[in-house]
């Protein structure tokens, strides 16, 4: 057994929401899980995970050296008794040795959560504490990466994001990778269908009452209320909230015409493919 299903997404695309669903589905408890107690595996970039399996400090290596070792760490999960469900924000990239970063052997498959980049931008701007234009520029940068500081120790290792479009395509078009794409918007509008499909792919229970309960227990309003009451460990220090709106279409209020045009210019092809633009190139 063992092996890994990746819960992959660009940041601020619904990954934590999905993990909350997953945790509630697996535990099948009578009350909703608290957001700080989600036990759905690790994040692929967790330094403590890497160090523990490697037996030496990844902090003594540079980011490229670490990347070369990451496939071996994930491959080690094949010895686990259980399947692992781990979050990942890295794009699907290859090491300098030409090996997929996530290890092809270790990877059973991936759920890829995609969200309209027009809605990702305001959410990411809040998360990264950048203005919208800077955020939109970041989403267009092909060399974009997270946790890049070399002058201090971070709890996560560097993650190559690439541009928003390249991130999406890296996962959904990865050759030979079993991958189910979940649109954030479908998770909102057709939750039962979306989450049932995901659960089936992930080899998890699919009975209707259990799925419905897990959807209810991971409802955005509930997650947001939990954060308001008790805070959330994953909130960035300078951002007021992690869970903001949890809606689709808020970009209509948040973005100006030039910002909308810039995102469409950068990401139009991928937006069209996932139903975020109509045939005339207008946002839906």
């Amino acid at each position: 057994m063992g092996g890994i299903y990746w819960l992959a997404s660009y940041p601020k695309s619904g990954n934590t929401w999905f993990r909350s669903f997953l945790h509630n589905l697996v535990t099948d408890a009578d009350t909703p899980a608290f957001i700080d107690d989600l036990r759905t595996g690790q994040i692929a970039s967790s330094r403590s995970w890497l160090d523990e399996v490697l037996g030496f400090d990844s902090a003594e290596l540079d980011a490229d050296e670490v990347d070369r070792l990451r496939p071996a760490v994930y491959r080690w999960s094949l010895r686990d008794a259980q399947i692992g469900y781990h979050k990942i924000h890295d794009a699907y990239t290859h090491t300098v040795d030409g090996e997929p970063l996530v290890s092809r052997e270790a990877t059973r498959g991936a759920i890829y959560i995609v969200r309209n980049p027009l809605d990702v931008a305001p959410s990411a701007a809040n998360h990264w504490q950048l203005d919208l234009d800077a955020t939109i520029a970041r989403m267009g940068r092909h060399d974009m990466a997270l946790a890049t500081s070399r002058s201090r120790l971070l709890e996560q290792v560097r993650q190559r994001l690439l541009s928003w479009s390249a991130h999406v395509l890296s996962w959904v078009d990865a050759p030979g990778l079993p991958c189910v794409v979940l649109r954030y918007e479908d998770m909102l509008d057709q939750p039962l269908d979306s989450f049932t499909r995901a659960a089936g792919f992930l080899e998890l229970p699919q009975d209707r009452s259990r799925i419905e309960k897990a959807i209810r227990f991971s409802d955005f309003k509930l997650l947001s209320q939990q954060e308001a009451d008790k805070g959330f460990r994953e909130r960035p220090p300078r951002a007021a909230r992690f869970f903001r709106l949890g809606t689709s279409g808020a970009w209509r209020q948040a973005l100006g015409p030039a910002q909308i045009q810039r995102i469409i210019a950068d990401h139009g092809a991928v937006m069209r493919r996932f139903g975020y633009l109509d045939s005339d190139g207008r946002p839906i």
Binding site: R47, S48, D51, E52, V53, L54, G55, F56, D57, A59, E60, D62, E65, R68, L69, A72, V73, R75, W76, S149, R150, S151, R152, L153, L154, E155, G231, F232, R233, R235, P236, P237, R238
Partner: protein, 299 residues
Amino acid sequence: MHYTAYQLSIRSDIALPELLSDGADQVATADVDIRLAKVAAGGLADGQQLGPFLWADRQSLWLQVPRVARFLVQGGHTILIDPEPGIDEDSLRVFLLGSALGALLFQRGHLVLHGNAVRIGGQCMVCVGPSGAGKSTLATGLMQRGHDILADDVVPVNAACHALPGFPRIKLWQDMAERLHIDTARLCRIRPGSEKFSLPVARPAGLSALPIRWIYILGSDQGDSVRLEPVDGLQRFRPLHDNTYRVRFLEGMALKAEHLQLCGRLAGRIRLARVTRPKGRFDLDALIDPLLADMAAHP
């Protein structure tokens, strides 16, 4: 070349400038022998594989750092290093003085904590916590207030629950050095190209093993101020175990029973508290002041 660290005499084929030289060129017997030698690829024949690059049996730990070296740590007295062609000695020493020496200290029956030990009066404080929590910054801050650093990163604890003095240096990241007003221009980099530096620290002559009185588990969260929460009774055992240096090493070396016993003994005699600082900003005085006050209140 001969050195002392962790109250051991050490003979080494490679120079270890971080360690205190014991002055002698020839010593009849050393406690620890560090040799450049062939280490077989592929792990230990009769051992247990603990990770993709890690094997252990009752006497030995085999560790490969790809593109750096293979290490074989044996019986608590020998470390063999088989360097990859062309690798620099700095890179060898980083892993030698970390994982390899840590494994050797386990083999000698010590409880090895992942943290920093600092002398406070006649006793010792140990700060543990995840990588990136700020342990070294805290230790350096305490040093700047006149307290001696006993050990950095690897803290061996003997059967009497005393922390053994390591070697007189602390590893310092560029960001942290700036915060502490330490100029890194003259410091050696830990590895070529690394933004992490080796800061030599003053070490009073004859610094001996010191009884551990306080252990603080350092962490950070979204709170606005530093919080200090004591951990009492049976709750103390788990965090000590969790903050052991490379817990995985214990499995293969059949040291678990001994280790658990030592954790229990230590848990019974220390003040243990979680110290949580605001994430994203690091006000060192706001961290050190309450810690020193807590230690003064629990002498």
